[in-house]
């Protein structure tokens, strides 16, 4: 009986998010005629596919009890590197490979520094954020557009769904990333260890789990996901820009938190993050549909939601302990 209530409470933040999402959708559908169109929901996914991928990587880091502030800059760096290299006539697969390796390499480096020198993840990834953004500006100070046929083809090919709806290839990639992420977190040793390290690093170490490898891997995953998110953003905007994704780390963290992952680590679900990203997208869509509210209300509402969910988290964790 106790286990039931404990696990019930663990789902509470996710259920709250789900209720919020349904409520927001219901409100939108009731207020605006065209809102009920399923394509509106699919558009949320299309517009936020890159955020979903980045937030998935962030979920790994936060589950392990860390934080990664560098994601926004790595996304920008990825868009810029791909635009620049494509401009130099590199082939698309080579560019994609290089970008992913750069992202994963940056993550690996930061993870290694965090682990071996016992520095706070927050500081190291902050430095990584400066570094990646600085590299962006050194590569180019203005936007570079992408004209590579492979990229434009992928960007402009819609995947048709029954009922006349469509999604972009980016959405498919994002969903694949989420599926792989869920599999890794719940059905592999690495995933179990991530939860264990987030729950208590000390205990995980005493249990003989590979804490060092896991901690470094988590940041590598996040770096890889940021690079992939950057590629998706490059596809979505067909440009590389050093000003892309400023402040995106906050959106990613917000999505993870709203999705019910506990910030101290050890508890949460990747599917919650999907809900979190959808909630953020839904808020933006609602504000766009409303028309009278200015864009800055998005930030205020996201801030208020963050507050709500963090307080909710405190209440939940306090009771289970």
């Amino acid at each position: 009986m106790t286990t039931l209530t404990v696990s019930g409470r663990r789902y509470l933040p996710i259920l709250a998010t789900l209720a919020l999402l349904i409520g927001a959708y219901g409100y939108g559908a009731a207020s605006y005629d065209s809102f009920a169109d399923p394509q509106v929901v699919l558009n949320i996914l299309i517009d936020n596919a890159f955020l979903l991928v980045v937030a998935a990587g962030m979920t790994f880091v936060i589950l392990s009890g860390g934080i990664d502030l560098s994601v926004g800059s790595v996304v920008a760096l990825s868009t810029l590197v791909s635009a620049k290299l494509l401009g130099h006539g590199w082939s698309a697969p080579a560019v994609i490979l290089v970008v992913l390796v750069i992202g994963a390499g940056l993550g690996l480096g930061m993870g290694a520094v965090i682990h071996f020198f016992e520095l706070q993840p927050f500081v190291v990834t902050l430095a990584g954020m400066f570094l990646a953004r600085g590299l962006c500006y050194t590569i180019s100070t203005s936007a570079i557009s992408i004209t590579d046929p492979f990229f434009t083809d992928v960007a402009q090919t819609p995947i048709l769904l029954p009922g006349g709806m469509h999604v972009s290839i980016g959405v498919v990639i994002a969903l694949v990333v989420v599926a792989v992420g869920v599999y890794v977190l719940h059905y592999t040793r690495f995933g179990r260890t991530v939860y264990a390290v987030g729950g208590s690093e000390q205990s995980a170490m005493l249990m003989g789990l590979p804490v060092a490898r896991t901690k470094i891997m988590v940041y590598t995953v996040s770096g890889f996901c940021s690079a992939l998110g950057g590629l998706l953003l490059a596809l979505y905007t067909l440009s590389g820009n050093p000003l892309h994704a400023i402040g995106m780390e906050l959106d990613a963290i917000a999505a993870v938190v709203i999705g019910g992952t506990i910030l101290t680590g050890g508890s949460g679900y990747l599917l919650g993050t999907v809900l979190g990203v959808t909630v953020l997208g839904m808020i933006q869509t609602l504000i766009t549909f409303d028309g009278t509210l200015s864009s800055w209300w998005t930030r205020i509402v996201i801030g208020a939601l963050l507050l709500l969910f963090i307080v909710l988290q405190r209440l939940v964790t306090r009771r289970t302990r």
Binding site: I67, V113, F116, F117, E118, L119, Q120, F122, V123, V124, L126, A127, G128, F130, L131, R133, G134, L135, Y137, T138, T141, L250, I253, A254, V257, L263, T264, S294, S295, W296, W297, T298, R299, I300, I302, G303, A304, L306, L307, I310, V311, R314
Partner: protein, 347 residues
């Protein structure tokens, strides 16, 4: 020499002096300070003047970091405080009125105190992690600032308000005096009373200090209020410098610069010991770095790269693990020398 090199502030000070000397070699007019129309002018004065807001924010950040916390919302508080003050001044019938300007300043300061108190409440009472608790205001604060300015950039013409950032008192820019006063007062209050010691105790081990009877919760709350206040005054300065309030860009990235200044100044991010003097030197170092980038004609884009390298280097030097490794690698040949010295000491 050895004790000097071992001093906590030796390396940041040395770096600052080196940077200034480098500037001097690059442009010999760097150190010249002129008296023009009864006002002091010169590169050094500029560094102090434009560094004043950063010094203020970093002072507040020092105390927060000393308790083991962090305040990411200072940039937003800077924007909000500037926005509300400019809004108030822009609605005055006579923008030069001293009373109205003072009221605007008062409102902005009060609002910053409230925002700081909100952060403090989240962190100390609800027990939310400082990074996350202040992240909320960082995200929402930019929106609030834009809400206040209605998405516009409010421009003002009042001379009284402009004086905060651009005025001169007895040939010295007012902003330098404000920063100096903030440094003096806070250093005096914190170091001449038990407050500083208590804050260090809370930062060192919150649980132990609570058991020892320190009201750690109230102290932590207080540091966030102080940080909000400092950021608010800095916001007034920044908006007054450009006679306008920009909800989007005022104080952008200042939280990172402030954290950097505090870390360079020798305050550990894990809390515990802190140094106001070090923070001021750190803030000046960052401001000089920005100035250097411009005077040497280095593309300003690389400033961020510079900062990244500096943050990493400082953090690594502070990391006990890194020092240990470094020492272990060097220690073998050095062992004998140390032993010899020990023999000589009693003589």
């Amino acid at each position: 020499m050895k004790t000097l090199a071992g001093h906590r502030l030796f390396w940041p000070t040395a770096a600052l002096i080196l940077l200034l000397l480098g500037n001097f070699i690059a442009s010999p007019a760097f150190f010249s300070v002129q008296l023009r129309e009864g006002h002091l002018y010169g590169s050094l004065i500029d560094i102090l003047r434009f560094g004043a807001p950063l010094i203020l924010v970093a002072l507040g950040m020092t105390l927060v970091i000393a308790t083991g916390g962090i305040d990411l919302s200072v940039g937003s508080v800077v924007a909000i405080s500037g926005a509300i003050a400019c809004l108030w001044v822009s609605r005055l019938d006579d923008q030069n009125a001293i009373g109205g300007t003072l009221a605007a300043v008062g409102i902005a300061v009060a609002l910053s105190l409230v925002l700081g108190a909100c952060n403090g409440f989240l962190v100390s009472v609800l027990g939310v992690q400082p990074i996350v608790g202040t992240l909320i205001l960082m995200v929402a604060g930019r929106g609030l600032a834009q809400l206040i300015t209605d998405g516009q950039i409010i421009t003002i013409t009042g001379d009284a308000y402009k004086a905060i950032g651009g005025g001169f008192v007895a040939t010295v820019p007012l902003s330098i005096l404000i920063a100096l006063a903030a440094f003096g007062i806070s250093a005096l209050v914190v170091r001449k009373s038990a407050l500083g010691m208590l804050i260090e105790a809370v930062g060192g081990n919150p649980e132990a200090s609570r058991l020892a009877g320190v009201a750690s919760r109230r102290l932590i709350w207080l540091t966030y209020v102080f940080c909000g206040l400092c950021a608010g005054i800095a916001g007034l300065m920044i908006s007054s410098n450009v006679s306008s309030a920009d909800g989007n860009n005022a104080g952008l990235w200042i939280e990172l610069d402030a954290i950097l200044a505090v870390v360079i100044g020798g305050t550990r991010l894990t809390g515990g010991r802190f140094s106001f003097g070090g923070t001021v030197i750190g803030a000046l170092l960052i401001q000089t770095l920005s100035t250097t980038v411009y005077t040497l004609g280095i593309p300003p884009e690389t400033t961020l790269l510079f900062k990244a390298v500096v943050v990493m280097a400082v953090c690594l030097v502070q990391s006990p693990k890194f020092r240990q490794r470094f020492r272990r690698r060097r220690s073998r040949p050095a062992v004998k020398a140390v032993k010899d010295e020990k023999v000589e000491v009693p003589v």
